[in-house]
């Protein structure tokens, strides 16, 4: 974070639900900063009389709702930009619409914002819209949030109303990764705590909205990141000059330093840097420059210049969050044109890993993405592209998808991680297939997948099951979450992303083993429904058997075979399923082992028998 400095510019978005008074808030802010000109004020008086809802008072909302349709319907249908300044710094206010159907506009606004002002109507409290806005801001990497609890005048300036909303919001966004959250009680209509401190809320001692905007830190992750320059144009005005033109989107480069093209791998030293005012010795983030190089390397538009010590990924597949912005639903397998930095390349949306329920952050299994839905998908480009993850660099980790026929921008995307598959790996077909291998083993290959909380008894049942199968002459293999984490998956942690990858790998290994003709017994907590569905999709119909070991949390805590719950309850283990991370129960498991139900015996032998019954019925 860079501290606020005089002369810096802060870009912020305002978001809130339809009637939270967002435009009124902006209008009030502009007015108090004297950013409304006399003739604009006169036009506002005229419009207030015609369309206004505030009687003889000025209706500030009309100042911002620029398009005629919006003025008539009283809604904001598009993103509007306003500019104002105080002696402290200058501001770009991005006004975002509140309706659910305009999530795309909100995401667009958030993509270029340093701070978000999220509005809540004090009388209504937190709405699902508020949650949507917070989640979108978090996904787009807006670190700073001001929660403006508006219409305090209509809530009798009641401190408990404010505190309830503030605390509820705090609980919801915990874990979303905001670096700073400032809640402020305001009344945009009356002007409490906007530019001037309210005299009606003595109980509030924090900053006014304007104070908060003037002092907010600006994320400088990109200035301190590794050098990146997406090439816009190679200038060749004459035979003696060849320059690489583009904007520095991350880091800096000096004359004499080595740079490399991410696509070609060609390296050279920077000979000259031409900025907007002539030659300079260093090029910094945000500057438009032309670089000349000491030696000739192959560079063209679309190349991403970097430094050899920290090169971007160069691959043709990655996983990304997609915000779907088109009325045409996204289906896996469709091809679009992708723009990433200055690269254009055809790209296919592959598997949809999950759709994000942005009201409660749940991962929902999905086969398509509709307008305004957000999901995690695999993207396969027709040719390798150079990129970083969105967390590393916004400019080189973001992309748009464009419909090939209509040329409409249908999605915006943020790279989560690359799928580092080598470019030239093709599927090799063997001469002996799964069926032949299984016939020789005299069995039907299966994947029995135990899911449930830690301590639910998955491993115990799995081990006993394998013993029983072995005695019957079956060829088996057991895959256990803990064991895999010692080897194959030892580079993975317990964050959501790592859990997704953990399960994906386990699924792939299990699939290979069924290819070998084995009965594979897997025991993984596998808390996310979407991940289990992903694994299921790797197998043939009937081959994957999901067994839900449904032992209540209290019983698991009581057993606590590895002493993990004790630690987790003390807060020593983050992201512990059941305690600090969610577990999504299966909808339709092939077998449901319910603990403690009257009809069934919860002993291990009885439960193993039920699995065997399922296998051999």
């Amino acid at each position: 974070m860079r501290a606020a400095a005089i002369g810096t510019q802060l870009r912020f978005i305002t978001c809130g639900s339809v009637d939270d008074g967002k435009s009124t808030l902006m209008g009030r802010l502009l007015w108090e900063c004297s950013a409304i000109f006399d003739d604009q004020l006169e036009a506002l008086r005229r419009d207030s009389r015609r369309h206004g809802t505030t009687g003889e008072e000025l209706d500030f909302a009309l100042l911002l709702d620029g398009l005629e349709a919006e003025r008539e319907q009283g809604i904001t249908i598009d993103v509007a930009y306003r500019y104002f300044a105080t002696p402290q710094r200058s501001f770009v206010a991005i006004d975002c619409p509140g309706h659910e159907q305009y999530t795309r506009n909100m995401a667009t606004g958030a993509s270029e914002a340093d701070l978000a002002v999220i509005l809540v109507d004090a009388r209504k409290g937190l709405l699902t819209q508020t949650m949507r806005h917070a989640v979108i801001c978090a996904l787009l990497g807006v670190g700073n949030v001001v929660l403006a609890v508006n219409k305090m005048d209509l809530a009798a300036y009641d401190v408990s109303v404010f505190e309830r909303i503030r605390d509820g919001f705090g609980r919801f966004v915990d874990g979303l990764g905001f670096s700073n959250i400032q809640a402020i009680p305001v009344s945009a209509l009356v002007g409490d705590n906007i530019g001037k401190r309210s005299t009606r809320m003595d109980w509030y001692e924090g900053p006014t909205l304007l104070d908060a905007l003037e002092t907010a830190g600006i994320d400088d992750a990109e200035e301190t990141g590794p050098f990146r320059l997406p090439v816009q144009l190679v200038l060749r005005p004459n035979l003696d000059f060849r320059g690489i033109a583009g904007n520095v989107v991350s880091g800096r480069i000096r004359i004499g330093e080595e740079i490399v093209g991410a696509r070609t791998g060609g390296r050279s030293l920077v000979a000259k840097i031409l900025g907007t005012a002539g030659e300079q010795s260093v090029a910094k983030t945000g500057e438009a420059v032309v670089l000349t190089l000491a030696g000739e390397i192959d560079v063209s538009r679309g190349e991403l210049m970097a430094i050899p010590q920290a090169r971007p990924t160069y691959a043709d597949q990655f996983t990304a969050h997609l915000v779907w912005m088109s009325e045409e639903t996204c289906h896996p397998g469709r091809q679009y044109l992708m723009r990433l930095a200055t690269q254009w390349v055809p790209a296919t949306v592959g598997q949809i890993k999950y759709r994000l329920n942005i009201e409660n952050l749940e991962h929902v299994a999905a086969r398509e993405l509709k307008l305004n839905e957000i999901g995690a998908v695999d993207v396969a480009a027709a040719a390798p592209v150079a990129f970083d993850t969105y967390a590393e660099c916004r400019s080189t980790g973001s992309f748009i998808l464009v419909d090939r026929l209509s040329n409409a921008t249908v999605a915006m995307g943020m790279v989560l991680h690359s799928l580092r598959r080598a470019t030239n790996v093709h599927w090799e077909t063997a001469l002996v297939d799964k069926k032949s291998r299984a016939t020789l083993l005299k069995q039907t290959p299966k994947c029995i997948w135990f899911t449930g909380l830690s301590g639910s008894g998955k491993s115990t049942i799995a081990k006993e099951l394998e013993l029983q199968l072995h005695r019957r002459g079956c060829h088996t293999m057991i895959l256990d979450g803990d064991n895999l984490r010692h080897g194959l998956n030892r580079n993975l942690g317990f964050t959501e992303t790592d859990r997704v990858e953990n399960i994906r790998r386990a699924g792939e290994v299990a699939r290979l083993m069924t290819e070998a003709g084995l009965i594979v017994i897997c025991s993984f907590i596998s808390p996310y429904r979407a991940d289990r569905e992903l694994v299921r999709s790797m197998f043939m119909e009937g081959e994957f058997l999901e067994v839900f070991v449904d032992t209540p949390l209290e019983e698991c805590i009581r057993r606590d075979p590895k002493g993990l719950y004790a630690k987790a309850l003390k807060g020593e283990i983050p992201n512990f399923t059941g305690i600090s991370a969610p577990y999504e129960k299966p909808d339709k498991p092939e077998l449901w082992l319910q603990f403690g139900s009257l009809e069934s015996d919860s002993s291990v032998p009885a439960q193993v028998q039920r699995v065997l019954d399922m296998l051999f019925r």
Binding site: G66, E68, D78, A80, L235, P237, F241, L337, V402, M412
Partner: protein, 261 residues
């Protein structure tokens, strides 16, 4: 200003596109002189387009009215020129701070085959990732100065020492008072109304349209420093002098839908 940036962007190369001026025949003389001098100096290709049909019909800002004049001599003329030279992109200096409907304009603004702007079908521009792809017959208006304010422009002009049209600086000019603004009598074509007598006043312009439709402000600002100082204390917006903006409430939006820049 826009030209200055464009020259810089391609330096040390040459500007890879021509400049187009849609001349309504009612532009300020000083502005025309400045235009011609600039084009000659910088070795730039300049195309001037006048709607000959409009001239033949005798369209003018006085008797035809500002709305029809703007429609025929600016909007229609621009469309003619874009079609004639088959330009698929036109770069303009419009800024979002100028006017309400402009504040929602994209940096790349797409126009249909008939040059129509549909504010409901604008392309989102996240992270400045511009989707510049066009279908057959479609064109794009590009507004690189979208996020600049009037003050930003003048401060940049001052920093870079950019040559600007002298009309932006105060000077004694012959003006008449109409509809609450000062209109300069740039030539004899502006008929005087009964009782009107041009008076010499120290005025300057903040924006340059057709002279009979562009109001001057009283000012003593004769240098860039003066202009910046004046602007910092101004309580009027820049387009207040543009009579065409206040025809009706959503005047600019309507013009843009029809193809106005």
């Amino acid at each position: 200003m826009l030209l200055h940036l464009a020259l810089k962007a391609f330096a040390p190369g040459r500007l890879p596109f021509p400049l187009l001026h849609v001349d309504t025949t009612w532009k300020f003389r000083e502005m025309i002189a400045f235009r011609d001098r600039l084009a000659a100096d910088k070795n730039i290709e300049l195309i001037v387009h006048i709607n000959a049909e409009g001239v033949a019909r005798g369209i003018n800002p006085m008797t035809s009215g500002s709305a029809l004049h703007t429609q025929v001599m600016k909007t229609e003329a621009l469309k003619q020129a874009l079609d004639r030279y088959a330009f698929d992109a036109a770069i303009g200096g419009a800024r979002r701070d100028e006017e309400k409907s402009r504040s929602k304009e994209r940096i790349l603004s797409f126009r249909s085959q008939n040059h129509v702007w549909d504010p409901r079908r604008q392309r989102p521009e996240p992270w400045r990732l511009f989707n510049s792809r066009l279908g057959a017959g479609e064109s794009v208006r590009a507004f690189p100065l979208s996020n600049w304010t009037e003050l930003d422009v003048w401060e940049y002009v001052r920093t870079e020492g950019i040559d600007v049209v002298p009309l932006y600086f105060a000077k004694k000019r012959p003006v008449v008072r109409r509809n609450g603004v000062w209109i300069m009598r740039d030539d004899d074509r502006l008929p005087l109304r009964p009782g009107e007598e041009p008076q010499l006043r120290s005025v300057r312009f903040r924006t340059l349209g057709c002279y009979p439709l562009t109001g001057a402000i009283e000012s003593e600002a004769t240098s860039i420093d003066d202009v910046v100082a004046e602007m910092k204390s101004s309580s009027k917006s820049e387009r207040q002098g543009r009579l065409i903006d206040s025809d009706t409430g959503a005047s600019m939006e309507l013009k843009k839908r029809e193809g106005y820049f």
